[in-house]
Amino acid sequence: MSKERAAAPASEPAPAARASRRGQWLRLRLRNIAPFATLLFLVALFSAASPSFLTLDNLANILQQISVTGIMAVGLTFVILCAEIDLGVASVANATGIILAYFTAQDASVNIANLPLPGLAAIVLAVFGSFCLGAVNAFGITWIGIPSFIMTLAMLQIGAGICAMLVRGQIAYAVPKVIAVLGNGGLGPVPWIVIVAAIVLALAHIVLTYTRFGRYVYMVGGNREAAEYSGVNVRAVIAAVMIISALCSGLAGMLGVAHFGSAQQDEFDNYLLDSISAVVVGGTSLFGGQGGIGNTLVGLFVLGVLNNGLDHVNIDSFLKILIRGLILLAALIINVYAQRLKGLPEAGES
């Protein structure tokens, strides 16, 4: 009832409300402020605890460590903004990396019945492979109507299966030259992998912020039904984000294989949790429609600083796992809490 709930805090600049204005401004930006404050806090903490933490060399380390996760997290950001999830990112990355190695001539000592092709062909096939896996996700979710949580869980297994079939427990080492350079080389002092990650993040930011497609992603995540009633092709948008996610994973997988120097089963297992954590810790809403690449970037640094910093401060390595879990839990609590705060008091009736 309009009169009864016109008391909505945001709708009146009454003198009493003036004081709570600032509080409200903070509340509505909790999603963006909390991750940044966490980052500053962690940097301060580790700087105080260890002299080797706050150095240029270590910054370079951190950047390298978050690059592969970062590329995957970009795809996930699109997916989570649409209020979907992709649990297959690490698996698709692994599969793509292995497809790439499979089509590359390996050293004679490598015991894999592979199919050597020119480098460019191998890359094209690997990218196509990740595209296909994304397309299968898209089809299952939008046409069949399988919830993305389940669909991508199946894809996680399918990706692992592809890896297993291609390498059969062996390890491949060689990848095409370009990929090897991008994954392992550097432009002067800056590793290529960091540059690629930065470019991918920047491109994604531009797409999400300044293009029509980006707007559709936010609107579909904000209110799917309303988007459909506005004539937005919701299915196409969701299909697109699933494919984008798979392509990002594919790129991360190829560079990752080069970066680690090998392609093998279960190589990317940690990356699923890390990339989801980065997006969520950064403050992108799990309910869709809120957040973005800026959030993901901060989330990546929070995770990167945490992982790296814990190595600098002589801590029980088994405790580290627990600490990461607790940080993720705290981020989830803030995420859900921020969502509730932002649920603006509706001025109209329900």
Binding site: A10, A16, M219, N223, A347
Partner: protein
């Protein structure tokens, strides 16, 4: 001195964040009375009801139940004191049986602690029979018609020991025979000494069943009377005050539908032949001309809203042919419908608006592909938003304000505005005035008339006769998914419309 009334409220006031929702209201309810509560949305009915049911606590004033001062801290307190409530949205569990619903939370158990099914069914059967309800207690709730579900919910509230039951819009979803049955039950319970507060927009229903009626306007009591002493005009006058000519006319009088001099020679914009989908509607054929408003009226669940959704490609029709400007089109999704020149405003505000996004994004979303191929043009979007804000006098006039902070009526205008940047060929409105106060309703009437005069073809689907009568040039009445009658070029009144449905 007469006995104390069952419920007595004195000078009850309640405000929300400085806005007074109730301004010192008195209210009494006797045992064995059905008391009507009418007023427009926002008049304070809901607030009063929620105070009585313990959902809100009043700021001031006192409430006496059977002579004793009571102060409920929660809905549970109110229930314990014998106050029950039946919401418009029924609080039933559709997948459980009738018996389980009636005894919800109070199922009898056997010695092992399991639910004693035979006893439960027997108790439910006896209870329902006592109320004169003939229904199999084992039937699944969802398999019953809505009217029966509602009666069963009333039975449940009674079973939990309520002596005072608040009925919120009990007749809005019922067909006339179902209403008759509801009223028979209420009279029977009244004779047993139970009391009811009957909240409704349907004044005829209020006059038919209530003993007394209280009218609310702007958080205050605008009148109270015995039903025998007053008529509908008296109620409307107190509800809305003077000067609402257009709506009063549609409430009361005969409406002359526009004759052939109107749109009859204009081009047919949308033509449907034999549309059907599942069980929701069958065999629907209709045409709309440019500059014409076609009303589609039917009781809730008669298929008119499903039809509107289908025309917009949300749930595409399975059978039949749809032509737009003579060309056959298949609308497999809403994007195609929009590109074909259709525009749709759904009945629920929640399902058409992005509450956290600014106004301008809410308005541009449906025209984005005509504004921008790849890169967004926020400047242009804001410009368009400003134009609509001025045209439809949307308040507050700030394109960057999050939509969720606007009032309901203004949100509704935004939902309409997003289709007006590039004029569609056909505008589909589903329940365009549901839940609106009179002022906002008149705004809608004005806007729709203006769009019609500009040559738009408009379809209005509604279960509220007043809405259809106020807006339409021609009316189709739907009954159980089929078109039952057409009113064109003749006079029509609410009772004739209802009789046809």
């Amino acid at each position: 001195m007469p006995p104390a009334p069952l419920l007595e409220l004195r000078a009850v006031a309640k405000s929300f964040g400085g806005v007074a929702a109730l301004k010192g209201v008195d209210f009494t309810l006797d045992a064995g009375e059905i008391h009507g509560l009418v007023g427009e949305n926002g008049a304070g009915k809901s607030t009063l009801m929620k105070i009585i049911a313990g959902v809100h606590a009043g700021d001031q004033g006192e409430m006496r139940l059977a002579g004793d001062v009571v102060r409920f801290r929660s809905a549970r307190d109110a229930r314990a004191a014998g106050i029950g409530m039946v919401h418009q949205e029924l609080a039933i569990v559709p997948t459980l049986s009738v018996a389980e619903n009636v005894l919800l939370g109070m199922q009898p158990r056997n010695r092992l602690g399991f639910i004693d099914w035979p006893a439960m069914i027997a108790i439910a059967k006896r209870h329902l029979e006592n109320l004169g309800l003939v229904v199999d207690p084992r039937a699944e709730m969802a398999s019953l018609p809505l009217g029966m579900q509602q009666l069963i919910e009333i039975a449940r509230v009674l079973f939990s020991g309520a002596r005072l039951i608040i009925l919120d819009e009990p007749t809005s979803a019922l067909s006339p025979p179902e209403i008759t049955r509801l009223f028979a039950l209420l009279k029977r319970l009244r004779a047993e000494g139970r009391s009811f507060i009957f909240i409704s927009h349907f004044l005829d229903d209020v006059l038919a069943i209530c003993d007394r009626v209280t009218v609310f306007r702007n958080g205050a009591k605008a009148g109270a009377a015995r039903v025998g002493d007053i008529d509908k005009a008296w109620l409307i006058e107190r509800m809305i005050g003077a000067g609402h000519h257009e709506l009063e006319e549609s409430y009361l009088g005969e409406i002359q539908l526009r004759g052939p001099e109107g749109a009859a020679d204009a081009a047919v914009v949308l033509a449907a032949e034999g549309l059907g989908r599942g069980t929701s509607f069958q065999d629907v054929s209709l045409t709309v001309r440019a500059g014409e408003v076609l009303g589609i009226y039917g009781f809730m669940g008669s298929g008119q809203l499903d039809l509107a959704r289908a025309l917009f490609g949300k749930t595409p029709p399975e059978r039949g042919i749809l032509r737009i400007e003579g060309r056959a089109v298949r609308l497999r999704n809403t994007t195609r419908a929009r590109r074909a020149g259709l525009a749709f405003v759904p009945e629920s505000r929640r399902s058409m608006l992005f509450a956290l996004e600014p106004l301008y994004k809410n308005m541009s979303i449906s025209v984005l592909d005509r504004l921008a191929r790849l890169w967004l043009k926020p400047k242009r979007e804001r410009e368009i938003a400003r134009r609509h804000i001025a045209q439809l006098s949307i308040r507050p006039a700030q394109p960057d304000r999050p939509l969720g902070t606007l009032s309901g009526g203004n949100q509704q205008k935004v939902a309409l505005a997003k289709w007006l940047t590039f004029a569609p060929k056909v505008l589909l409105l589903s329940e365009p005035t549901r839940g609106m106060d009179v002022g906002a309703k008149e705004d809608v009437v004005r806007i729709v008339r203006r769009l019609r005069n500009e040559g738009l073809a408009i379809i209005v689907a509604s279960a509220e006769p007043e809405t259809v009568l106020a807006l339409a040039d021609r009316i189709l009445v739907m009954r159980k998914g089929r078109i039952a009658r057409e009113f064109a070029n003749e006079t029509v009144s609410k009772d004739r419309l209802l009789a046809a449905a």
